[in-house]
């Protein structure tokens, strides 16, 4: 029975990391319809910013979180403003452009910082394990879980309870009609993209103490993030949450019973089969076309 709960907690932890990484993508993909292949590189930039602040400025991870969000959001805003906004309504070109941006970011980091693997220290206050329902759990993983919940709540409020969120939802439904009501779509898109990028950066910084930091670390995350968003249903934040935790529990459980190689294969297979029968994902919100 202990093992069962241990595994549930593990699944929650894997799920929270997936959600953390997918949240930014979900916003950008879901609301702007941009398939952002540079998402993984935003995650990578966040991790590198964390490393930079820690190794060169002596700033701990927790204190760096806000600067990291701002820095990566700024980079995202610049990219939206000077690359993507020039490619409006050209989805295929956007895919190519974001892919290119991703490569540029990756190689840029490799050239300036070097290709060595880096690491970020765990915050000392969270480096131990704690006991939950009689099981020892890594404090940092609990912290990640809580942060993810908070970030999700903030994002949800931003989308549903603020003016800018309302404007964004209006643009999502019909850009030209929204524009004719005086909404500045360009500005809203810029801010949305920046927010999504900033979230990705935060995700990178937060997972960096558990994983390694390298210029090509983003590749794995972008695949995970797309899996979560596609399974959950584009344009559905709640769907993203549900699918992140479903995938987390599923891959955790299969990895425990079999191994991680099998888990990876089976989870991908399950998604492919599911998408075949429900192309719109598990949870969709009805949108007027």
């Amino acid at each position: 029975m202990d093992q069962f709960f241990e595994q549930i907690i593990t699944g929650l932890s894997i799920g929270s990391i997936l959600l953390l990484v997918a949240l930014g993508l979900s916003i950008i993909y879901g609301s702007m319809g941009i398939i952002n292949l540079a998402h993984g590189e935003f995650v990578m930039l966040g991790a590198y910013t964390a490393w930079l602040l820690q190794s060169h400025f002596g700033l701990g991870l927790l204190a760096s979180l806000i600067p990291i969000f701002v820095a990566v959001a700024l980079i995202g805003w610049v990219i939206e403003r000077f690359v993507l906004s020039l490619l409006n309504n050209r989805p295929l070109d956007t895919i190519l452009a974001t892919w290119g941006v991703g490569i540029v970011l990756q190689q840029g980091v490799r050239l300036t910082v070097g290709s060595e693997l880096r690491y970020v220290q765990l915050p000392p206050s969270l480096s131990d394990s704690m006991v939950i329902v009689g099981l020892s759990v890594s404090s940092y993983r609990v912290f990640l879980f809580l942060v993810t919940i908070v970030l999700f709540a903030v994002t949800w409020l931003l989308m549903n309870r603020t003016t800018i969120g309302m404007k964004l939802r209006a643009i999502m439904q019909d850009r030209s009609v929204a524009a004719s009501f005086g909404i500045n779509a360009k500005r809203v898109y810029g801010l949305t993209f920046a927010y999504g990028a900033g979230l990705a950066g935060l995700a990178g910084a937060l997972v960096s103490p558990l994983k390694s930091v390298s210029p090509d670390m983003g590749t794995g995350y972008v695949v995970d993030a797309f899996m979560v968003v596609v399974l959950g249903g584009v344009q559905s934040l709640a769907g993203t949450v549900a699918s992140a935790f479903i995938l987390g529990q599923l891959s955790g459980a299969i990895a425990f019973l079999q191994n991680d190689t099998v888990a990876k294969a089976l989870v991908l297979l399950a998604i492919v089969v599911l998408i075949r029968f429900r192309p719109e994902g598990l949870f969709t919100t009805r949108v007027r076309a």
Partner: protein
């Protein structure tokens, strides 16, 4: 004979150049081996500078270049300079093969130093065998290969495990959890480990492989908790090593009770994960940066002077360094007109040099290397403390896990 043949090649080349670009390959096919000429000895340096394994292969490139520069600064080889031709195979086996062909056929290098992964070595092997050229491979690997066109200067399983596994059983207990990345190297190492465990009364509680590049180890850690092994025997590679160590630590597991025993964690990986995550775990290898010997002090000082004081040396970069000196030694034995890959190979058989790790020798039977196995524990400053050093150097047995097979000068033979 040599001269007339060279004239022939020259004529052939001239004719080829004369008759057009598509033509010369016919002459290359008939031409003799790559050969050093004109006071220059061309060698290829084939380590990835971009792509996933660039992280480690860059250091191999650096160690090789350092050795070449040192040799040239000291007057070269009998007056001839070594000219390194550096290619970047971009961590991709197909590119490895293409660049190897370029170095061997196009540039006529007399030897190529290269490869970190087994996949890339397997990819270039046909090129070297067909052209009868020579490849110098510095990495520890799974053994089970027998080619007269490769000089293997890294450890094979028996050289990393023969001391290590019995020592672990004695010190920590007999329950082993085998974990590796999912490809041939960890599987072969584990095959050999299981044989040793059987012999020394150990047992395997689990054997598990994670995908290459895997970075989520929480389920593995749960399994480790539930099986309670005495030793976690790890052949995980690349950035997964970092993730495994950092998550092991975050989960609050204790290296004193349940250490990881690794064949792949070198100073390089430790620098990537941080000393705090690596401290207390064990590695078996022929070389550690802290090894005390005049040759090693010289090597480490020269390396850090050339490439930066924060750089570390490790068991693969050390092999890169000494194999370049073995190359020099072999070429020195040859007349200037005889510098061809097969002659170099014959000259290097049985050759010895004082490497940073101690005196090493190329075994003439299988072209692998006699090495000095060591067991060390990682400290929180990122360096190791050597706990066990063998009194004798250890013969390479690339087919140690396969009792019926031996590698001989004529190739793989079945023992009767």
């Amino acid at each position: 004979m040599g001269i007339s043949r060279r004239t022939l090649i020259k004529n052939a080349a001239a004719l080829g150049a004369f008759t057009g670009a598509g033509f010369p390959h016919i002459w290359i096919k008939n031409a003799d081996l790559a050969r050093a000429a004109g006071g220059e000895i061309k060698v290829g340096v084939l380590f990835s500078l971009t792509g996933t394994t660039a992280i480690i292969e860059e250091s191999l490139n650096k160690a090789t270049i350092l050795a070449i520069e040192e040799i040239n600064a000291a007057g070269g080889i009998k007056g001839s300079k070594i000219v390194p031709i550096v290619e970047d195979p971009a961590s991709d086996p197909a590119t490895f093969s293409e660049k190897a062909r370029k170095l061997v056929v196009g540039d006529k290098c007399v030897s190529v130093f290269g490869s970190y992964t087994s996949a890339s070595r397997k990819a270039v092997l046909p090129v070297f065998e067909r052209q009868n050229n020579l490849y110098w491979y510095p990495t520890l690997y799974e053994g089970r290969e027998c080619s007269k066109n490769v000089i293997y200067t890294g450890a094979v399983p028996n050289q990393q495990q023969d001391e290590f596994v019995p020592w672990l059983v004695k010190k920590f207990g007999k329950k082993f959890y085998l974990i590796g990345s999912n490809y041939i190297y960890p599987k072969e190492e584990n095959n050999y480990c299981k044989k040793l465990l059987e012999k020394h009364g150990g047992e395997v509680v689990a054997e598990e492989y994670v995908p290459l590049g895997h970075s989520e180890f929480s389920s593995v850690i749960n399994k480790i908790r539930s099986t309670q092994p005495n030793v976690i025997f790890s052949t995980v590679v690349g950035d997964s090593v970092v993730a495994l160590h950092r998550q092991y630590r975050a989960a609050g597991l204790d290296p004193e009770k349940m250490p990881m025993a690794s064949l792949t964690t070198s100073e390089n990986e430790v620098a990537a994960m941080g000393g705090d995550a690596a401290a207390g775990h064990f590695t078996s290898a022929p070389y550690f940066q802290v090894h005390k010997s005049p040759e090693n002090e010289k090597f480490v000082a020269a390396y850090q002077k050339r490439w930066g004081a924060d750089k570390v040396t490790h068991f693969v970069s050390e092999a890169c360094y000494f194999q370049t000196y073995l190359f020099k030694q072999a070429v020195e034995k040859l007349a200037t007109s005889d510098i061809t890959p097969p002659n170099i190979r014959d000259a290097v058989k049985g050759a010895e040099t004082i490497a940073p790790q101690g005196k090493v020798r190329i075994e003439s039977e299988n072209l692998h290397t006699w090495l000095w196995p060591k067991i060390a524990q990682c400290k929180s400053n990122g360096q190791f403390e050597i706990l066990v050093e063998t009194k004798e150097w250890l013969k390479p047995v690339p087919y140690a896990a396969y009792p019926g097979q031996v590698c001989t000068e004529k190739g793989l033979a079945e023992k009767s």
